[in-house]
């Protein structure tokens, strides 16, 4: 059998097995779910082996003589002392190194990129001197850099930050600012939700497109046959389940 045709049968079967969960939890779904975990872990291991062991350790050490790389290898091996209770404390050196380097790298970069840069982009000039029109105030909502949007973004950032600032009581004018922050948050959560739903829909369309493609006779109609098989198995399983379970 051609590898593409076999692939079409496997991909269709696994897709239908996962979709069978929409009916109820069943052995076909569990099989595909566990296979997914296994294949994903296997894939990650192979990629990590290829990237770390082959390209970062073996080749640089044996081909370029970078023996300094034996130090991170030793630090990494210290991590595995977790499995030896008496020597488990040695793994602290590995964690101390990772956490120390990570923290040190994070401080200046976070301040520069995520605090100062974000503040700089928030506090922008409201009026502009573009073209020969003198000082202008742009009301174009569709341009994120327009004057009106600059003001809206400024209000949004300040009110949301204020909402999360609990050192003073949100009362009086502060309550109005905090309420504005909540409204901004709700709009952002709604937008994020809508965006996520559409992303999932896009994935669903992708899977259905594959099922339609694989229903072609050139592949041996896997969609049709495997759909019949899946429905058949689900019917048999539902008949086999005990009356008590059915009531549940």
């Amino acid at each position: 059998m051609d590898a593409t045709v076999l692939g079409a049968w496997v991909a269709t079967g696994l897709t239908l097995f996962i979709f069978s969960f929409l009916y109820k939890d069943n052995p076909l779904f569990k099989l595909a779910e566990h296979l997914y975990v296994g294949v994903s872990v296997g894939y990650t291991i192979v990629k990590a082996y290829d990237t770390v062991i082959v390209h970062l350790i073996v080749k640089p050490i044996f081909e370029q003589g970078e023996f300094a790389l034996l130090i991170p290898v030793a630090i990494g091996l210290l991590m595995l002392t977790r499995y030896v209770p008496k020597a488990a404390w040695l793994s602290r050196y590995a964690f101390a190194f990772i956490v120390g380097v990570g923290s040190g790298l994070a401080i200046p970069r976070t301040i520069s990129s995520f605090i100062l840069k974000q503040v700089e982009d928030t506090v922008r000039p409201v009026l502009s001197l573009a073209g020969g029109d003198g000082v202008t105030f742009s009301m174009n909502l569709l341009n994120p850099a327009s004057s009106i949007n600059v003001i809206i973004i400024l209000i949004g950032v300040i009110s949301v930050l204020f909402y999360f600032f609990f050192s003073i009581e949100h009362s009086g004018p502060g309550k109005i600012v905090a309420r504005t922050g909540v409204m901004f948050l709700m709009i952002a959560f709604g937008a994020a939700f809508g965006y996520t739903v559409m992303a999932r829909m896009s994935l669903l369309i992708g899977r259905l497109t594959d099922l339609i493609e694989f229903s072609d006779a050139s592949y041996g109609n896997p969609t049709l046959w495997l759909a019949i098989l899946t429905v058949g198995v689900l019917l048999v399983l539902s008949r086999r389940s005990s009356p008590g379970e059915q009531e549940k």
């Binding site: 779910e33 294949v39 923290s103 930050l161």
Partner: protein, 216 residues
């Protein structure tokens, strides 16, 4: 012994933390070289962390099979999937294709991993829709705002939505680029301030939970 077990790790954290925080402010080639090496070192040490995670998964399912717990057969399927993928991956030297031809590892990726991953996330569309139906009823002003924003963004991202509500595309873009961006920016600033504070606490030994519990 307490120095080796407790104080030396804290000292390592402090020295490496201060060294790499200071590295950012030294515009010298050797400083850049130090950063490049440290990034490589972190990747190598991180690779060993993966061993810890995988071993834990291995142990958990091995115990399930040994005790013949309910559903132990699925653990066998997990093992078969994992070992099979590792075998074909090593055979193909971790490459999905060689000179344009798909390897067995590439086949596993294209016909097993991609469909499984895609379908697993795709079925969430149904669960999100059902959760939305239950929780999106406009019971308060905030819930109504959330509902309206979600509907506009959903309508604005499909041709049918734009056909039914012509303005939805532009309004959706405005919500995403302006209102959503301002909230994300505020949250990012807050989270970053927290991350910087936590990094300082770690470097100066105030936060020590990463060392784990157990004996001193």
């Amino acid at each position: 012994m307490i120095f080796l077990r407790r104080q030396l790790p804290l000292l390592i954290t402090m020295v490496t933390g201060l060294l790499f925080a200071g590295q950012y402010y030294v515009p010298h080639p050797s400083s850049e070289q130090l950063l490049t090496s440290a990034t490589k070192w972190l990747q190598i040490v991180g690779g060993f962390a993966l061993v810890l995670g995988v071993t834990s998964l291995f142990h958990q399912h091995a115990a399930k099979i040994r005790r013949k717990e309910e559903g132990w057969g699925y653990s066998l399927v997990l093992y078969a999937g994992m070992l099979g993928t590792i075998a074909v991956g090593l055979w193909a030297n971790g490459k999905e294709s060689v000179e344009g031809a798909m390897t067995a590892f590439g086949w596993v990726y294209s016909y097993m991993m991609v469909p499984l991953q895609g379908t697993m996330f795709a079925i969430l569309a149904f669960f999100i829709a059902s959760a939305a139906y239950r929780s999106f009823r406009a019971r308060s002003r905030e819930a109504a705002v959330l509902l309206i924003a979600a509907v506009i963004v959903m309508m604005g991202r499909v041709p049918l939505g734009e056909y039914l509500i012509p303005l939805s595309g532009d309004v959706s873009q405005w919500i995403l680029n302006v209102l959503n961006a301002s909230v994300r920016r505020a949250i990012l600033i807050g989270v970053s301030l927290g991350a910087v504070a936590l990094s300082f606490k770690i470097i100066f030994g105030v936060e020590r939970s990463y060392l784990g519990g157990g004996k001193e």
